[in-house]
């Protein structure tokens, strides 16, 4: 053992050099790093949001709302279909994840079921065919329409992907490219924005569903009916966006929707000078918009965003070109925000913030300072302690091993771009402080063996051989706790687990191999008769 095997020396030198190479960008000023030759790594440590400041938002996609919306739309389809085919029915309702209705004439039940089976729901992809909704006649003489559960799950999953797409488009138009929405689990999306101190604006950009519809206002119902809650079938009540104006009664059917827009941009009204959002529709939208405006001159249509009426202008004449402008109580900024949302499209499914963490840049800088101070104090104290206990030579050797260990950890962290968090710094300090345990185990074992009467060289050999098993077992225990911590979620704690895990490997390497090479070197060059750590 106390020989200098060439591969050991090469391995130690290589690890040290690589560690140094990958750690270097962290130690040099940024402008020097930029000028490094191309083969040099340039990645610095990737600081977590708690260190550089920023926001992280965890959204859950409301697939239940998506289901409710699809069911409501289907119910309206059914209403229209049955009216066209002149089937009489009552009690059309959406409840408990299904649509139910009762045919007035029970003998028509089978005909209705057959009709609906052919036309309701979307065809399923794949060879099996069929549709994503089932139509059944129930025992109480009703007809029940519901989703095939697997089919809806697939659709919900697709909606989450589409939500991510839409978010990406929205974020891209604002130029904040470094924000990357990532799917988490079944129906969650996590968004991390480094340096974003005020997530409120980000939330307006990302979280808003931005579902735009044009619906006709139903002015046939009397205010008394509305007061009494008698809403004509096929109508719905929608609140106004400012919360002050009274609610509107509108037709549920939306002939023109935001999907038909090809462009939207902020602008100003030519006569009043108020900020407005100008839009242009595609061919289908323009045709429908033209038809509706021609047929309904003098009536009002409501422009509805996320179930709130932005405005409800009176149609003064046909609008054939498919372009127009939305008046609301916009400021220049909110007109701009709405344009961005409309251009990027609506979220297929609404989302809700489940978790939000924001750290200001100053607090982050404070954390970096606190982490650095405690790292320096803690490590210097450990080093002085080791020198006091084991002297310049053996203490020094453990410090060199410690240095190589630190370089390797920082190198691996920089190269893999693993996130360093404040608890991660704590994990790093603790790992390094306890890494000397391996040296202590080796040294103490050597002293034991010397006391047992072995020769110096035999004692040194046995020290390594016997301590190795203990070091291995003792370090494995950390791997288990780190792995479990990694699965706990939450960014800062993950960072802590990651530093612990990397540290275990580098510690075993540096404490065993680096210490061995240095001790062998000392032994071969000085041929000592006794150990300086004595007995």
């Amino acid at each position: 053992m106390m020989t200098l095997a060439r591969w050991k020396v090469i391995l130690v030198l290589l690890a040290t050099l690589l560690g140094l190479l990958f750690t270097l960008p962290n130690l040099l000023p940024a402008n020097v790093v930029a000028k490094l030759p191309p083969f040099m790594p340039k990645n610095t440590l990737h600081l977590g949001l708690d260190l550089q400041g920023g926001s992280s938002l965890l959204y859950s996609v409301d697939t239940a709302a998506l289901q409710a919306e699809r069911l409501n739309n289907t119910a309206e389809e059914i209403r229209g279909l049955l009216h066209d085919k002149q089937f009489a029915f009552t009690d059309l309702a959406v409840a408990n994840g299904a649509i139910t209705l009762r045919p007035t004439d029970a003998t028509q039940t089978n005909d209705i079921v057959n009709l609906l089976r052919q036309s309701v729901g979307a065809p399923l992809a794949g060879a099996g065919g069929g549709r994503d909704m089932t139509v059944t006649a129930t025992a109480d003489q009703r007809i029940r329409v519901a989703f095939v559960p697997e089919a809806f799950d697939a659709e919900a999953s697709k909606a989450v992907e589409q939500n991510i797409e839409v978010i990406r488009r929205r974020v891209d138009t604002t130029g904040a490219k470094e924000i990357n929405p990532v799917r988490q689990g079944k129906n969650r999306i996590i968004i991390e924005a480094a340096g974003e101190n005020d997530p409120e604006k980000l939330k307006r950009l990302i979280g808003q569903t931005a579902k735009l519809t044009f619906q006709m206002v139903d002015e046939s119902a009397s205010p008394e009916d509305l007061q009494a809650g008698r809403i004509p079938p096929g109508d719905e009540v929608v609140a106004s966006s400012d919360g002050i104006a009274p609610s509107y009664l509108v037709k549920k059917r939306a002939p023109v929707t935001g999907e038909m827009l090809t462009s939207a941009s902020p602008g100003f009204d030519q006569t009043t000078g108020q900020p407005v959002v100008q839009f242009r529709m595609n061919g289908a939208g323009a045709r429908r918009f033209g038809d509706i405006t021609r047929q309904n001159v003098g009536k009002r249509f409501a422009i509805i965003l996320d179930k709130k009426v932005i405005s409800a202008p009176v149609i003064e004449g046909p609008i054939p070109g498919g372009s127009g402008q939305i008046h609301g109580h916009f400021t220049q900024e909110s007109a701009n925000e709405l344009s961005v949302l409309l251009r990027a499209g609506a979220l297929p499914a609404p989302m809700k913030v489940e978790e939000q963490r924001t750290v200001g840049a100053e607090l982050g800088a404070d954390a970096v300072r606190a982490g650095a101070t405690s790292a320096i104090v803690g490590l210097v104290a450990t080093m002085v302690f080791m020198l006091l206990i084991y002297g310049m030579l053996f203490g020094g050797i453990s410090l060199v091993a410690l240095g190589v260990n630190a370089l390797m950890i920082l190198g691996v962290m920089s190269a893999t771009q693993a996130t360093l968090t404040l608890p991660g710094i704590a994990g790093l300090i603790l790992t390094l402080a306890v890494a000397v345990d391996a040296n202590v185990l080796i040294y103490e074992r050597m002293r034991d063996e010397l006391r047992a009467g072995r020769t110096l060289i035999a004692a040194m050999d046995a020290g390594f051989a016997r301590a190795w098993g203990t070091i291995f077992d003792a370090n494995m225990t950390h791997i288990f706790s780190a792995l479990i911590m990694f699965n706990l979620g939450s960014g800062p704690v993950k960072g802590f687990a990651w530093t612990l895990a990397i540290g275990v490997f580098t510690t075993v390497f540096s404490a065993v191999l680096v210490t061995q090479v240095l001790l062998a070197w000392w032994f071969l060059t000085t041929r000592p008769k006794t150990l300086p750590i004595g007995h």
Binding site: T358, V359, G378, L430, M485
Partner: protein
């Protein structure tokens, strides 16, 4: 210099009779565990019992704000937020103008949107307010985090039991796990007591700290067990208690040195690491101390109680040599 390196001056071999004192310490530990359990659970307030629940596990919103140069007058903050119906608590400490707001959004309201309203209300009352950090955790996520945290602790203990069983013997594994339970319960007790003084909250970071303690306590136990196993083979006729004493004494220097380096690092963290790391480091400091203690006074006595196989024909397991 006669006193340096210190290792030459430290006693070479100690002969403390640890096992004899177990009669005294083990019942004391049992009492401490019962007390800790009581403090952890009482007054049975869900979801965290007697621990000061952080928002990770309880859900809600915490905002760290600064109204400097104006003083952060709690009455003024409450007045500003009156209309929002938040039932907020305000804690002022440390720097002038610094305050910690904690509240739960009223039922049905979007917690995240409430943050925007609170910011607007505070800005109106104080002029410009600095929002250092904001954490919002919804009820679904907090429930999941608590579940994951407790599951993680259970899994960690189970993993250690299996590993020690695999590397040593079942009796060793049971001893180690008894020591782990001791460490984990006492740490919960510490978190409960510190929580009552408003110093440490039970959150994900505390769970991470406890998991780290499990790692270190195990580390210590493994080192003692390793020597213990070796001595069992060497001295086949020596009574079990004496073998345990001898093993602990032999590893005492190492135990003290390693604990010292960990303590040095953790004290530095507790003093200079700021409020985020304070709880984490105090929990771990405590853990290192009781982890060392439990290896000697819980793990070893359990083995003594249970006994180990010391069959003569048992083959010598040679530890893997370092090549």
């Amino acid at each position: 210099m006669d006193f340096w390196p210190l290792i030459k001056v430290l006693p070479v071999r100690t002969h403390f009779r640890f096992v004899r004192l177990a009669r005294l310490f083990t019942p004391l530990s049992a009492l401490a565990i019962i007390g800790s359990l009581f403090l952890t659970l009482y007054p049975f307030k869900p979801p965290c019992g007697g621990l000061a629940c952080g928002i990770d596990f309880q859900g809600g919103t915490v905002m760290d704000i600064s109204t400097a140069p104006q003083p952060a007058d709690p009455a003024k903050i409450h007045a500003a937020l009156r209309g929002l119906n938040l039932n907020e608590t305000v804690q002022t400490a440390g720097a002038p103008g610094a305050a910690l707001l904690r509240f739960e959004a009223p039922k049905g309201a979007d917690a995240s949107a409430t943050v925007g309203r609170v910011q607007a209300a505070l800005n109106q009352a104080f002029g410009r307010v600095k929002f250092n950090s904001t954490d919002v955790v919804g009820p679904t996520v907090s429930g999941e985090l608590l579940g994951k945290g407790l599951l993680g602790l259970g899994l960690a203990i189970l993993a250690m039991l299996l590993y020690i069983w695999f590397r040593f013997e079942l009796q060793f594994g049971l001893g180690a796990v008894a020591a782990l339970f001791h460490d984990v319960f006492l740490t919960f007790g510490l978190i409960a007591i510190m929580g009552r003084f408003g110093k440490i909250e039970f959150d994900l970071k505390s769970v991470a700290a406890i998991l780290t303690i499990i790692g270190y306590s195990m580390n210590d136990t493994v080192v003692v067990f390793d020597r213990f196993r070796e001595n069992l083979r060497k001295y086949k006729r020596m009574p079990l208690g004496e073998v345990i004493d001898m093993s602990i004494n032999e590893m005492l220097t190492r135990t003290i040195i390693t604990s010292m380096t960990a303590v040095l690092a953790l004290v530095a963290l507790a003093f200079f690491g700021g409020p985020t790391l304070y709880g984490l480091s105090v929990i771990m400091l405590f853990g290192i101390a009781i982890g060392t203690y439990s290896s000697i006074y819980i793990a070893a006595p359990v083995i003594l109680l249970w006994g180990v196989k010391r069959a003569d024909e048992e083959p010598e397991i040679v530890t893997a040599p370092a090549r």
